[in-house]
Subunit: 303 residues, 2 copies
């Protein structure tokens, strides 16, 4: 197997993981979660979202969270930014990277952002320009890159159309999201062999949800094709509020097990990720879905 | 990706899936389960085990189950056979294939079978000889082919030692089991590139447990190396009573989703597998762990 020697795990748990959780999570608990993650060896944490609280009430305290976390020098702290207004709010508390987002599927984009794909581009361009002027790097999320809950299979050409536009705007990296977790390795291969000749692997990350249990197989196939950046959420938290049937992100600790056993360096310490996962599990008051957390619970049952 | 055009799913749910379940499952319900599976397009069902009921009380009714099921002509009905006595019991009710079993790990074999590896061979040889005399095919299970709960990593050479002995006895096919679900694709590749030059892909099947969420990635890697036979259990049922921390088999319906989406022919109908899974889920009185069953539950919640 041709595999990278090292990969980067981009932790999206505090944002993508928590955004749909119904439980009230105190700002201080979010801060503690991010501080725990900051100490685990992770180099990237997506902290929160500056989407209007009307849409994501769970993350209404984005500014407070960013103001209160204890930042580590070698960690990039990012936040989801929907528009110029959101960026202004984020800049007052300080972020390292702004994440803009849209969909490869016209219907999903319309449902998620209430704009057509073409109408979304100028809104994002405004954010990218302003973020760059403020010295931030910018990440572009493209969702539903394999399948859409409304349109079914999404052809790689549609993803490329959006990716071209985002890179043209000056986005530094694109995260390709299988938002509803329908993709299989052959589809990931079709997508990546379409995109990689144009963009190379350095500017692409993969963002898998594990709705159908295929996420880790897709990560392996992505690595074999040269991808070295993967989004994940501790505990397998997360889902998309506008994508029916979407379940959690691939779990950070399950990916970490894979990378560790395949001797692929991450710099992330399993024990510390599990500590953070146990912490947020208690706050959520329900068992997290990751396999590693399940194994932890069995260990506890046996003692 | 180099992939087979078709694969065979070998359903082990009624045996490997149920053997550790604590709930009382009526013989008539096991019969109904197997009848439902027989109508799904599956060509192979491991029905029960003739291990002494003292060890696996759940499967004490193996003979009754085999006597009562409605057999389909194109389905192979197999049972686990520990020794000559077990085979005699099985032959009175009729099976198509006898499955013998042992471990690649000395300690796991000792814990599971109460014999050393070398002491196990003659017991299995007796079964193989007698099964062949009665016109049965014989399957050999090798467990802990990647990792052992007592010994850790198991080198491919140890698996080959046992596989050589089993094939020498006249076993028709060997199922390689990652009993405790620790393997990752690089290890599966190391194992298979060691074994395939000697045995070829036709005589090997892979048997993955999904304890750490890597089973489907391992299936994909196995297919890329030429393997076309996979054991699975509906609902992700199962586990090994003697392997601490072992959780369920990879779920038939989750594998089926993978194969269907990758256009790999199985002949198995998803809807009918889900019907069988729903049936046994009701009898067990707890939600099954497969992703496809989880999706079914979400659908029901929404209606």
């Amino acid at each position: 197997m041709h595999l990278p020697k090292q990969v980067v795990l981009k932790e999206v748990g505090p944002r993508d993981g928590l955004q749909n959780e119904k439980a009230t999570i105190l700002t201080t608990d979010k801060v503690e979660l991010i501080n725990l993650l900051s100490m685990s060896g992770l180099s990237y944490i997506e902290v929160s979202s500056f989407v209007h609280p009307k849409w994501i009430p769970q993350l209404a305290d984005a500014a407070e969270v960013l103001a209160q976390i204890k930042r580590q020098q070698d960690v990039t702290y990012a936040a989801l930014i929907p528009n110029k207004r959101g960026l202004e709010r984020a800049l007052t508390v300080g972020i390292d990277e702004a994440s803009v987002f849209m969909s490869a599927s016209e219907s999903h984009n319309k449902n998620n952002i209430n704009k057509s794909i073409d109408e979304t581009f100028p809104v994002l361009l405004e954010v990218v320009d302003e973020a760059k002027r403020n010295g931030l790097t910018v990440r572009g999320y493209i969702s539903t890159v394999v399948g859409c809950p409304y349109e079914g299979y999404i052809a790689p050409e549609k993803v490329r159309h959006v990716a071209d536009a985002l890179f043209d705007m000056g986005v530094d990296e694109i995260s390709l999201g299988d938002t509803i977790g329908v993709g299989v390795p052959t589809q990931i291969e079709a997508l990546l062999t379409h995109l990689l000749p144009h963009y190379g692997p350095e500017r692409l990350a993969m963002h898998f949800h594990d709705t159908r249990g295929i996420a880790i197989a897709n990560v392996v196939k992505s690595m074999e094709l040269g991808i070295t950046k993967f989004d994940s959420a501790l505990g397998g938290l997360g889902g998309c509020p506008y994508a029916k049937g979407a379940s959690g992100n691939v779990a950070t600790e399950d990916l970490l097990y894979l990378f560790d056993e395949m001797n692929i360096h991450t710099g992330v310490q399993m024990e510390k990720v599990l500590t953070a996962a146990s912490f947020i599990e208690q706050k959520l008051g329900k068992p997290l879905a990751s396999k590693q957390m399940e194994i932890q619970r069995h260990k506890e049952d046996e003692t």
